[in-house]
């Protein structure tokens, strides 16, 4: 399975949501990381044929996905960021309905639905109405519907949004389990969601892919160094104005700061190994002193 994005652009009036993206994806897990409004959802919607690009093409094994029409959708599983469900349907009814839309043969559909319900851990609530499920359960039902047709391309838009840490870990493990022999694209603005499962990470900002690569490649792409140092509490604001701070931890009368900087911020600062969160901050973060600082 190969997806190729060539000069992909989407404009909404004067606003360019996705700007001339060129990428190639094959089987594996891809993490799309970016702040809110970076253009991740627009990009994913184009990949799901929900939006037509203003210019550029998306090809699946060499064929334009919009021309492929239902042939492409047959290969696709999609979980949108916010998805509506039918409140009065039970989990099983809902999956049977989506299975019919996906063209799954009636002889296998019940078995497939049952298998997936078990896989996402919803067996106990299979006959419960969707409206009675917790947020995490609804997300799991969402991933089950996306998996019904055993898709070759699985696109998950912010799948962990609104989940508690426990549910997030479960969800991450589930995606990791489902990712074999298929192309999985997962968007998020939560670094830990993809840190352990993505083979390749794309950093997206203002509609463009800033960087792409494995975690190590991204860390190596940083031209600044990560430091940790203890500073007096009354000097924290000075540091925040001067440096990008990726973490702060209060201690007695002092604060442990994790700083991204070219220069050693203070004499006692120790150089430490960078993490993906540092990379995220390096590319997307701003200093407190910056104009319109987001962080």
């Amino acid at each position: 399975m190969k997806l190729e994005l060539d000069g992909l652009t989407k404009e909404f009036g004067d606003f360019t949501a996705v700007n001339h993206i060129n990428l190639t994806m094959t089987n594996g897990v891809y993490g799309l990381l970016g702040v809110n409004g970076a253009g991740k959802t627009t990009l994913m919607r184009m990949l799901c044929t929900l939006l037509k690009p203003t210019s550029g093409t998306i090809c699946c094994n060499g064929k334009d996905i919009f021309s492929m029409d239902s042939e492409y959708r047959k290969l696709l599983g999609y979980l949108p960021q916010d998805f509506g469900f039918y409140p009065e349907f039970t989990v099983e009814d809902y999956l049977l309905y989506i299975a019919a839309l996906k063209g799954i043969r009636p002889v296998v559909v019940k078995k497939r639905v049952k298998e997936l319900i078990a896989k996402v851990g919803l067996s106990k609530v299979a006959h419960k109405k969707m409206k009675k499920l917790s947020g995490g359960m609804k997300r799991r039902a969402g991933i089950a519907q996306a998996m019904l047709n055993n898709p070759k391309i699985l696109i998950l838009d912010e799948p962990t949004a609104g989940l508690d840490p426990n549910e997030r870990i479960r969800f991450r493990n589930l995606i990791s389990e489902l990712s074999e022999d298929r192309l999985v694209l997962l968007s998020t603005h939560i670094v830990s969601d993809i840190e352990y499962i993505a083979n390749e990470i794309w950093l997206m900002k203002d509609g463009e892919i800033l960087h792409k690569g494995s975690i190590d490649e991204l860390i190596n792409s940083m031209t600044e160094t990560v430091w940790e140092c203890l500073v007096p509490k009354n000097r924290v604001s000075d540091f925040m104005e001067k440096y990008k701070i990726s973490n702060m931890k209060s201690e007695i009368n002092q604060v442990m700061l994790r700083i991204i900087s070219h220069e050693k911020p203070v004499e006692n600062a120790m150089r430490v190994e960078a993490s993906l969160e540092d990379v995220f901050l390096y590319y997307f973060g701003e200093k407190a002193g910056d104009e319109n600082a987001a962080l």
């Binding site: 799901c48 929900l50 939006l51 047959k74 999609y78 509506g84 063209g103 969402g142 047709n149």
Partner: protein, 413 residues
């Protein structure tokens, strides 16, 4: 078929839909009860007292009275009814005055009232169209010339109403000449019963529009559409299935509702009166060549067509708009537009070409059948019931096609 079955199941699982369907069925009973409850008559007793009868008791009493006047409307019978009327007036004074004995009125006038009303109309003033005083009509003038007098009156009316359009006048006269005569009369069913069929259809249309409004827009609003349209059959097939399922639901609801409604009416008023010619219940010069039983079927069939055409317009709006409330508001405006247009401007193209043109109050299909409204274009004249039917039929297909097309082209913003 599996998708269709699941779509029906999905619709029927919605509590909102179930409530609206239950209201539709309850209304069919309530709206049939009302015209029955409106019936009333004073029955003179042998001891000189009067008993006021209402509802079913009044209907039963009237049925017994009307048996004597039931049959073909021949000039001889009309002449005889007129002679009886005139002799009563000569003996007791004008019918509408208090001194006129109730027992005589009930026994000799009431059973023939519809014959006499038609007679007054047939001998109306050619210029003003005002009905003739029954005392001024010479019974000998009726002999053999009653139906010719009716046709002459129609000619006068058409000359007044369609002064500029000879084609319309000609068409109306041609249509009238095709009527089966003599007319048949078996009084007993009230006009209210037919008005309430039309009113019930209006309420059904509102309920169906309310059910149809979220069909596509509801999915856009909740985001559920994003999942549906990324599936193999999530575009054209899904749109067609959703529309077919909605239509199936509305057809079944409409047929059940209208059948219950009409059965209640017919059980109360009896079926004998359904043989009455349209002209004997409305105007003697009306154009439809049907009896009241056929009228019930025609009102139900055209009502269904209009409801489906209106719903197809709502489905198109639902595929086009992003939220259910907008769809609902625009659909209600479209539904009521012919009603307002008719009140404001009378019978015009605007009040007849909307999909809901046959639904409403004065603009409804029944009133158009009982009227002489012709619309003219390029030397051609079209009777408004024909325009309403043709428009609804075309719009049903056009809006359904547009709904499918719009759904397929919709992009998730």
């Amino acid at each position: 078929m599996r998708l269709f079955r699941l779509e029906i199941k999905r619709i029927l699982k919605s509590r909102r839909t179930l409530i609206l369907l239950a209201i539709a069925l309850l209304l069919s009973v309530a709206m049939a009860y009302l015209p029955i409850s409106f019936e009333g008559i004073n029955r003179p007793n042998k001891d000189g007292t009067v008993t006021e009868l209402n509802g079913l008791a009044a209907i039963k009493y009237k049925q017994d009275l009307y048996k004597t006047s039931a049959g073909e409307v021949t000039p001889d019978r009309i002449k005889s009814a007129l002679e009886t009327y005139q002799s009563c007036v000569r003996e007791y004074g004008p019918v509408e005055e208090e001194g006129f004995p109730l027992a005589v009125y009930i026994e000799k006038i009431v059973p023939f009232r519809h014959l006499l009303m038609g007679l007054s109309e047939a001998f109306a003033d050619p210029l003003t169209g005002i009905g003739a005083d029954l005392m001024d009509i010479d019974p000998n003038d009726i002999d053999g010339a009653y139906y010719e007098k009716c046709a002459e009156h129609l000619q006068d009316v058409m000359r007044n109403e369609q002064r500029e359009n000879e084609t319309a006048q000609q068409k109306a006269l041609e249509k009238y000449s095709e009527l089966d005569t003599p007319f048949y009369l078996h009084s007993g069913i009230s006009k209210d019963a037919f008005d309430y069929i039309e009113l019930y259809i209006l309420l059904l249309a509102i309920l169906c529009v309310a059910i149809a409004a979220p069909t596509f827009a509801g999915e856009y609003q909740t985001g559920g559409d994003s999942i549906l349209r990324t599936t193999k059959y999530g575009r054209k097939q899904l749109a067609i299935t959703k529309i077919l399922a909605a239509f199936t639901l509305f057809v079944v609801t409409f047929l059940v509702g209208i059948t219950v409604h009409i059965l209640i009416l017919d059980a109360a008023f009896g079926t004998d009166c359904l043989k009455t010619s349209f002209q004997m219940r409305y105007s003697i010069i009306n154009l439809p060549n049907i009896n009241l039983g056929q009228l019930q079927i025609i009102l139900a069939a055209t009502g269904l067509l209009s409801v489906l055409a209106t719903v197809s317009c709502t489905l198109f709006l639902s595929a086009k708009c992003k939220d259910t409330l907008t769809v609902l508001l625009i659909s209600i405006v479209v539904l009521l537009m012919p009603l307002f247009a008719y009140v404001a401007m009378g019978a015009t193209w605007l009040s007849t070409i909307f999909p809901s043109a046959g639904i409403g109050m004065q603009n409804n299909f029944l009133y158009q059948l009982a009227d002489f409204n012709y619309l003219n274009i390029g030397g051609m004249s079209f009777w408004t019931p024909h325009v309403i039917l043709l428009s609804a039929g075309i719009e049903l297909f056009v809006f359904t096609f547009l709904a499918i097309h719009s759904y397929c082209r919709h992009q998730v913003a």
